[in-house]
Amino acid sequence: MCLAVPGKIINVTEEDELLRQGKIDFGSIVKNVSLVCVPDAAIGQYVLVHAGIAISVVDEAEAKRVFEYLDQMGELTELEMETS
């Protein structure tokens, strides 16, 4: 039940400060989500959502690092050679 899912912010409504909300696109569905805990998150960014509230902004640059790391280990290069 603790699963949190990444989704993209497609709009933000500010009119109620207590309920700063955004529409989040999860790929197959769009849901209204509270953005009170990610005050700087903006349209186009990805947030991690759990129980109707965004708990973190997904850092795209950091996301790339996992694969760069694998790359460093020589693994992805090896993979590319195998598949090309």
């Binding site: 603790c2 699963l3 309920l19 999860f26 990610v38 109707g52 973190s56 996992v66 693994e75």
Partner: protein, 372 residues
Amino acid sequence: MKFIDEYRDREAAQKLARAIARITTKPHSLMEICGGQTHSIVKFGIDELLPKDITLIHGPGCPVCVTPIELIDKAIELASRPDVIFCSFGDMMRVPGSRKNLLTVKSEGGDVRIVYAPIDAVRLAEKSPNKEVVFFGVGFETTAPANAMAVYYAKEREVSNFSMLVSHVLVPPAIESILSSPDNRVQGFLAAGHVCAVMGCEEYVPIASRYHVPIVVTGFEPVDILQGIFLCVKQLEDGRAEVENPYSRVVRHGGNTPAQELVRRVFTIVPRKWRGIGKIADSGLGLSEPYQSFDAERRFNLAEGGVDEPSECISGLILQGIKKPCECEAFGVHCTPESPLGAPMVSSEGACAAYYRYRRFETQPEIVGSKA
């Protein structure tokens, strides 16, 4: 879906598994704390990709599984009242209390509703002024901001017919309790990434050094989990015991400050009983002084009562990683997801349910099997 599919890449997972095999020179036992990770491990067959020397022990990180039977009984008592609309996350509906579960109460005419977000229960209270709306506030640190938000909103908007039955638990005290047990076999931890997204990594630093265990903040997709295992094994092989955070796309070292402030405002640290494990000091959250009027136990004056759990169920041993689900005699015989004896068979994140679903017929897991 972005940030999911690429982390399920079969080739990348197998490369990482080979890297783990390359660096492993002796046996290591690692515990994944979180039930969501247990589910992924069993579903994708991650344990089967690992060298024989690596044992994964499934930890107690499923709030559904550790909510004490007394609290389930209290939920049932409240849900059975004609003046109450009882709201809960879906996973709690089939958790057995001492006599029945919430689903039975609903079939008997109780107004029990599943909500996706706790705030939805407050909105329901606003729309139902003649009813008391109670939300079953369970969860780890991941869920605490959403639950805190609901109570905070109810107080700000003076929604006086809303209250919460709180059974919140915290991860670091559970890790310490496992490490200080004489039966402990765990040498390294995969910390639950989404708990750390909220709370950050700081709390784990003293635990890693005091008990000399590596703690690696780990995500939920196969590549995340394998990377967590790789770094944990690497530390054990090098004789290091540090907190590492490869899940940095989601987890900042300090966590989410606005979320922590919200949680600290609404909740306070209390002792909690864990189902199958027992009481752990400072291991839970309860409502703080200014929010106690939203405490359902207080509002409805619920009596304390000790209840025995079914003796056949060895969930305590499962939740502490001492036994695996298939070592329970009731597994798949008297205990199935349709008619669970213990909570780990109910939630899809419970170890027993994960084994029942993915291991009962020895089907090919998705990664090691032919499909990606």
